[in-house]
Amino acid sequence: MYGKGLRSLSIVTVAAMALALSLVFFYAPLEAEQGFLQKIFYIHVPLAIIALCGFVVGALFAIAHLRTRDSSWDMRSYVTIHMSLIFAVGALITGSIWAKGSWGHWWVWNEPTLVSFLIVFLLYATYQPLRFAIEDPERQSRYASVFAITAGAFVPMNFIAVRLSTAYLHPRVLGGTSNLPGSMRLTFMVSLAAVTLLFVTMCKYELTAKHTRAQVRALRRRLVGEDGSPARRGRTAVPAMGTQAAGRSGL
């Protein structure tokens, strides 16, 4: 069941978020150049990292779907990409706010990290319309998986290309050039873990909700005799989920 362990996961997530916020505002020192404004870093960067990782995980689920033809993998891929898009919106908004405070502009078009992230976001923004455009559930899931794999491969390539570029206006966080002191690094790692937990919890909630809805529909079909054909299902971007497939283990 998708809902298994959801309660304890939710409690851990709330505790981790509270710990992360406490560290951000009461433990991490003020950065010498940006001062208090740098506190945005502890939410903006984890949101961006988790969004990008979510896109890659969505691609891995899509590979599993194409290999097994199990619709539950398609549902996992769909939910992971859907949630990553929400986190990417958060990263874009918080990044713009930080840019305005730090650089005086909401957006800087000649900065490769910002523009590449926007390109990835816009690429994935077409995922839902693609699904919605295909009515046949089987074809829809197959095409969506191919898209998820192709776009998922683009994410690390894009990341590496930006790293290799020479214009470094945007600060580096991870890797050899990072110069975060210990307390800041600890706070960042806790924030990253908290945002990761938030992502996993939200994905599990989403999967549980969709699974429950699929079960209710199956029950309605059994009681009322409605057919589950694509014509009856109507046009939707949400993957078709069989109740048998939905009953397997969660994220």
């Binding site: 940006q34 001062g35 208090f36 405070g101 209710v216």
Partner: protein, 79 residues
């Protein structure tokens, strides 16, 4: 108190200016979570309504309230 003084003195941007940007960024996160919780609440109520309809269709009796909820209801009801 000393922490407030440090916050007020150290930043390159004055705290009253940097503070609004930091607050805005964290409020964005809270809003995203609140929107998500609201959507989940709407979905939950829809599923609950559908299940109620299905229960009526099946002809099954409505489920009894749980003992704890019943006790709380009796306590809150004036004698």
């Amino acid at each position: 108190m000393s922490a407030v003084l440090v916050l007020a003195e150290v930043p390159a941007l004055p705290l009253n200016e940097a503070g609004k940007y930091v607050a805005a960024a964290y409020i964005v996160l809270v809003i995203i979570i609140l929107i998500y919780v609201s959507i989940m609440a709407i979905r939950l109520s829809r599923i609950e309504r559908e299940l109620g309809e299905l229960l009526e269709l099946s002809g099954a009796p409505k489920p009894e309230p749980e003992p704890a909820a019943l006790a709380a209801h009796q306590e809150s009801t004036p004698a």
